[in-house]
């Protein structure tokens, strides 16, 4: 097991390095410097700025400098928020995004697994079909459509919940963003759970358990749940990425001052260091969580661990 984890960790490092280099090169291959959009500066001032941001050095040196900084948690200064480093900005905005993402994830897994299992147990019933039709809709409708529709219906029309963030203290302001973020994942996980649960329930060892008089509840709990969760577990990686992506939209729509909003602002303002920093941060997060998922997979499936 320790060997399995070690191998996974070692395997993740090149991936992360790849993202960093790729993202770095992309930014630095961009035509025109980060300050081109501003008024034309005298050449000596431009040279000064370039020197201040080490833009005058050869690319490999810049990359090396950047990597060396990364190791110490230094992502460089923001081009736009002149008084802040990128690390500070991420540090200040991330906790809120984390809270949002975590809540959405919990929502997605609990609701998705419960709905999927229920549908599988009543395979082909009306409830099953309705649920799956609903799930298909949930998958198909993108977050940036769901979120404004939620606002339109629940905030503007029915006025049940607040639509905005600032000026609305209290937990109520979390409800709509979390639901909008979770909905597509609930749908996807429900479908995944249903499909894998059906497959597991059709397997021979479930028939054995039925022959042993275990009854549906015990069969699901002791025999079916664990194997049926494996596909859901392997979906956790993509789900995390999807929630991160979704949070960008949701924070924008609800005006939540999280990392996603910084990211969009940075992207639209060409704040290269900030965008680069956030991309690398996101990548590290996704890779780390994928790693956790891989290890969990090994915990559940005894056959994998021994390889």
């Amino acid at each position: 097991m320790a060997r399995y984890i070690l191998l996974r960790v070692l395997g993740a490092i090149p991936t992360l390095l790849l993202v960093i280099v790729l993202a770095f090169l992309m930014v630095h291959a961009a035509p025109g410097g980060p300050f081109d959009a501003e008024r034309v500066l005298p050449p000596d001032i431009e040279a000064n700025i370039a020197r201040a941001y080490h833009l005058d050095e050869p690319l490999p040196v810049q990359l090396w400098r950047y990597l060396a900084g990364l190791v110490q948690g230094d992502l460089g200064p923001s081009y736009r928020y002149r008084d802040h480093t990128v690390a500070e900005l991420i540090g200040s905005a991330f906790p809120l995004s984390l809270k949002l993402g975590l809540l959405a994830m919990i929502c997605a897994v609990t609701l998705g697994v419960a709905a999927g299992t229920a549908a599988a147990l009543r395979h082909n019933s009306l409830g099953d079909r309705l649920l799956m039709g609903f799930a298909m809709t949930g998958i198909s409708v993108p977050v940036f459509v769901v979120a404004p529709l939620f606002v339109l219906v629940f905030a503007i029309h029915l006025d049940w919940l607040p639509a905005g963030w600032s000026g609305n203290p209290g937990a109520g302001r979390l409800v709509l963003p979390v639901l909008a973020l979770a909905l597509p994942q609930v749908a996807y996980i429900a479908r995944l759970t249903r499909a894998s649960m059906l497959e597991v329930l059709a397997s021979d060892f479930i028939r054995t358990a039925r022959a042993q008089g275990l009854g549906t509840a015990a069969i699901v709990r002791y025999h079916a749940l664990k194997p049926a969760m494996l596909p859901v577990l392997s979906y956790m990686g993509p789900a995390i990425a999807a929630i991160l992506t979704g949070s960008v939209v949701v924070e924008e729509i609800f005006g939540i001052p999280g990392l996603g909003q910084f990211f969009v602002r940075g992207a639209l303002n060409r704040d290269y260091t900030l965008v680069l920093g956030i991309v690398i941060f996101y990548a590290a997060l996704v890779i780390l969580l994928n790693l956790v998922v891989d290890v969990l997979y090994g915990v559940i499936d005894p056959r994998i661990r021994q390889r």
């Binding site: 090149p14 790849l18 940036f144 404004p148 990211f263």
Partner: protein
């Protein structure tokens, strides 16, 4: 057994799939013909008719937007672009994915292991953020969007095709052909490729909605299709800004986008059931 006929037989059997095909055909037709027959232009602003609601008898079937532009023409145009981008991007991903997957599957052994290790590595990347970075760093143009979306979506296709190729290669009828002395190109053409077609079509159908999603996401953020061109994602973005006063600006493109995605997803699902392939995840 026979993948392609079975796929279509499966489609005929599924009522949902039939409805989806008809709906998609209607939408595509409207998107193609609509702007041609409409008296309005997609980019001409008319400040006398700002935010006219739909059905107010003003020849603006879907109403107008905050610049007084006809929303019907703009929506149809957006649909055109959204579907065009998605189809072209899916074909990009199809070409890359099939070539890469088939190559890995045929090569087998170490080459295959290495190639798939690379795919696994890419899988772990939050690609969409890299695409955003790409969009930030470079001039936004159509070609870049195609390439970017295609580059994200070929991974699934590559995995599926590789898995199928690998298992086909080991299948006994391919071994039988090899024993008889059938040449490798002929084995590929006659024994492997025809058995891949069904799977590839299914996954192409499932890739299109994913590509639509990415394109409209980028456009929604203002990083994709740029004014005065539009796409469904950009229209939804504009709708969000006006939703308190002019809900139709949000609801019309949002509904259309959702219907298109739903149809493609249902269709792909029905086809996958008909072919019964596993292994995407």
């Amino acid at each position: 057994m026979n993948a392609l006929p079975r796929t279509f037989a499966g489609l005929r059997a599924s009522r949902t799939a039939r409805v989806c095909v008809v709906l998609l055909a209607l939408i595509v037709l409207a998107a193609l013909v609509g702007p041609l027959v409409s008296p309005h232009d997609y980019q001409r602003a008319d400040f006398d008719r700002i935010l006219v609601p739909p059905g107010s008898g003003d020849a603006h079937v879907f109403g107008t937007d905050d610049l007084g532009r006809d929303l019907f023409v703009r929506t149809m145009l957006g649909t055109r672009i959204t579907i065009l981008v998605a189809v072209v991007a899916s074909i990009v991903s199809l070409v890359i994915g099939v070539a890469y997957g088939a190559l890995a599957g045929l090569a087998g052994g170490r080459v295959d292991a290495l190639m798939m290790r690379f795919v696994d590595t890419l899988y772990a990347l939050p690609f969409i953020f890299l695409v955003i970075l790409l969009m930030v760093a470079f001039e936004r143009n159509f070609l870049l969007i195609f390439v970017a979306i295609g580059a994200i979506n070929w991974l699934d296709m590559a995995r599926i095709v590789r898995g199928q190729t690998l298992s086909l290669k080991e299948r006994e009828f391919v071994q039988a052909a090899r024993l008889i002395g059938v040449s490798t190109p002929r084995i590929l053409l006659r024994h492997i490729a025809p058995n891949l077609v069904g799977v590839v079509i299914v996954y192409l159908t499932l890739t299109i909605p994913q590509a639509i999603l990415v394109e409209s996401f980028l456009s929604f953020l203002g990083l994709g299709i740029q004014e005065p061109q539009t796409s469904l994602g950009a229209l939804v973005d504009a709708g969000v800004n006006q939703m308190e006063g002019a809900a139709w600006m949000l609801l019309i493109p949002a509904t259309l986008l959702a219907v298109i995605l739903l149809c493609f997803n249902f269709l792909g699902d029905a086809m996958r059931d008909a072919v019964d392939v596993r292994g995407a995840r």
